[in-house]
């Protein structure tokens, strides 16, 4: 039994509308399932909250990237203009900070944007060429017009037959087993 179980990633139910998957996700949470993931062709409002996923580190990473970029930008210019390569132009101050603002601004935006994009990809663990859900043939429609709710095998409440029956009871159109072909 245990060996068989390790080869199964989860059970996946297929829905046709965002409203259906939203209500199914709510019911799955109420039924006590913890490891649920939904796959949708476009972001469905409220779905993340429904499966209990709220907080993301992307804004924090962006802030860090922005602050880092800005400090780098200003620090670089200060170091160049005032320390390593000072040019005396009629006795004007070496740390002429107003002239350093444009580059500081640009590097702030650059740092924040790179951190936002790379941070999003890294938190999503992308690139990731293989994932068990791709082994389900019908899953190709997840990027067109079908909404999938997957209850994973690592969930303590998971039981292949019972979970499949549960998904049918919340009006999934089609229920398929997700095998992990590791």
């Amino acid at each position: 039994m245990n060996e068989h179980r390790s080869k199964i990633f989860g059970v996946m139910g297929e829905f046709t509308t965002p409203e259906q998957i939203l209500s199914a996700a709510h019911q799955a949470r109420e039924a006590g399932y913890k490891h649920i993931t939904a796959y949708t062709p476009f972001p469905v409002e409220g779905l993340a909250e429904a499966i209990g996923f709220r907080w993301t580190a992307v804004p924090l990473l962006t802030l860090i990237g922005g602050i880092g970029g800005g400090l780098t930008g200003f620090g670089l210019q200060y170091w160049v203009a005032a320390i390593t390569y000072p040019i005396n132009v009629g006795g004007r101050p070496l740390n002429s900070w107003p002239a350093f603002i444009p580059v500081t601004f640009e590097l702030t935006v650059l740092g924040a944007a790179i951190f936002a994009a790379v941070g999003m990809l890294a938190l999503n663990k992308l690139p990731q060429p293989y994932h068990p859900v791709f082994s389900v043939e019908r899953f190709a429609r997840a990027s067109t017009d079908r909404f999938f709710l997957c209850i994973e095998a690592r969930d303590p409440k998971f039981n292949l037959a019972e979970t499949a029956r549960f998904l049918q009871s919340v009006s999934a159109e089609h229920v398929s087993e997700v095998k992990d072909e590791d």
Binding site: F42, A48, V109, N124, R141, A142, S143
Partner: protein
């Protein structure tokens, strides 16, 4: 929502065109947009267009090769007119490159639904325009292989860039803008690349789109972080897009040359950039929707809205021209007064009158609804405005440089064959990249269109 709003009367309903044609489903929008990339055979129009633009790219290569062999002397530039076509074209292209990020970022933050079907190719257009723009300052240096001198790097000579110079600000502004636009575009493409991966028929398509989509699965976690990142990128790109042309205008405004040294430059450059950018989006959108039957996605509502944005930004530009004149006379500075007179009566005055005709007088026709709803007229108008914006940069660069402070420093500027061939070549490069783009990547954001289908359905059917 509909409960506390009075019902629209019949004429009002007629005037509010939909942002999406009727009867579309998630699958139908996906099929239609993905088919352009995956299954549609190459038509004679595409092949002819690609061949023509590819030929123009060869013209660009020859022009640049000859430039590198002979030096910048093959252009019409001289002393005192050291800038000439290279800078005129640079500012023109970078201005065109503003609409994409504006549509994607600012209209996204303002929650304008009509941006959805035009943002993707407008962003692509931005990238290609920035690429064309970047060529000019690079080859204008005369020794483009030394361009890395502009970046701060520890050299054995111990010298560093002058960070108090607007020209160095420009290097940072344009390269940051290019990078952030690329990131924004790619992040927006990710879900659509996954759609193409799932629908790909041939092995090559599967491998390419599979690699580019990075294994995107559209899980709720993916989308949640994606939306957060996309919103943040939009928020970051908004001040960035406004800063880029501001910094470009500093190249002029920080100098003391008459006609350049004015505080109106940053806002009116930004408005002019948006003006020309929207004109270029129309120049591309009108043939694109016709060629690939995308009239349901790029509707009259889009064209009408873009025409209105052009009208508004065109009026800001007109105000900028007025303030230039007003400040010249109000300041009483004799060099500024003289320059204003030179624009009206000098040797290049015909350029100035053509500019007023293209940029201020003709676009006033956009007040008329019939013109805004006439596709052919809009297309012609977009070409006129693009020409006008090029003339504006010519007037700014050439008239000021030919009429400096002392008559002994005055000069004349005559562009040569190579000036024109390089400009034509970059237009070819821009168009060729667009031809490749529409067949290689989805020209309309598919995932956002599906979202739009969902929103449109829930509006019609509130349960």
């Amino acid at each position: 929502m509909s409960a506390n709003q009075p019902p629209l009367s019949a004429p009002e309903i007629r005037r509010l065109d939909p942002v999406l044609g009727p009867g579309h489903t998630y699958a139908s929008v996906t099929d239609k947009i993905a088919a352009v990339v995956l299954t549609r055979p190459l038509g004679i129009g595409w092949l002819a267009g690609f061949t023509l633009t590819f030929t123009l790219v060869m013209v660009l290569f020859i022009s640049v090769a000859w430039l590198i062999i002979k030096g910048v002397g093959i252009w019409g530039i001289n002393i005192p007119i050291g800038w000439g076509f290279a800078i005129v074209n640079f500012v023109w292209w970078i201005g065109i490159g503003h609409a994409g990020t504006l549509i994607s970022a600012i209209l996204f933050l303002l929650n304008q639904k009509w941006r959805t079907s035009i943002n993707r190719f407008a962003e692509a257009m931005t990238l290609f325009a920035v690429a064309c723009a970047g060529i000019f300052p690079l080859i204008h240096t005369g020794r483009p292989w030394m361009a890395y001198y502009m970046f701060p790097y520890p050299s054995t000579m111990g010298i560093w860039p002058q960070f108090r110079s607007p020209l160095i600000w420009d290097v940072f502004a344009v390269s940051t803008y290019g990078t952030v636009s690329l990131i924004f575009w790619y992040i927006g493409l990710l879900p659509d690349l996954a759609t193409l991966r799932d629908r790909a028929k041939t092995r090559i398509q599967q491998v390419i789109y599979g690699a580019l989509s990075m294994g995107w699965r559209g899980s709720v976690h993916h989308w949640h972080r994606y939306q957060s990142a996309y919103l943040l990128l939009a928020g970051l790109a908004t001040p960035l897009v406004l800063s880029v042309h501001t910094v470009v205008s500093f190249d002029f405004a920080v100098a003391i040359v008459p006609g350049w040294h004015t505080t109106i430059f940053p806002p009116y450059f930004v408005a002019g950039a948006i003006y020309s950018g929207f004109a270029m989006v129309l120049t591309i959108a009108i043939p694109l929707r016709k060629a690939y039957g995308l009239e349901d996605f790029i509707t009259m509502r889009h064209l009408d809205n873009m025409a209105k944005v052009m009208l508004a930004t065109g009026l800001i530009v007109a105000y900028g021209y007025f303030v230039e004149f007003f400040m010249a006379f109000y300041s009483g500075n004799k060099f500024d007064v003289f320059l204003a007179q030179q624009r009206l009566h000098g040797p290049y005055s015909h350029y100035y009158y053509a500019l007023i005709l293209c940029n201020i007088l003709t676009p006033q026709l956009l007040w008329i609804e019939k013109v805004r709803r006439n596709v052919a007229a809009l297309f012609a108008m977009s070409l006129v405005i693009n020409t006008g914006m090029w003339l504006e940069r010519f007037v700014i660069v050439v008239i000021s440089l030919t009429r400096d402070f002392v008559p002994s420093a005055w000069g004349r500027y005559q562009p040569t064959f190579w000036d024109f061939s390089t400009l034509l070549g970059t237009i070819g490069l821009f168009a060729m990249l667009l031809f490749l783009f529409v067949r290689g990547l989805p020209a309309i954001a598919i995932a956002e269109m599906r979202e739009l289908v969902h929103e449109t359905h829930s509006e019609q059917d509130p349960e």
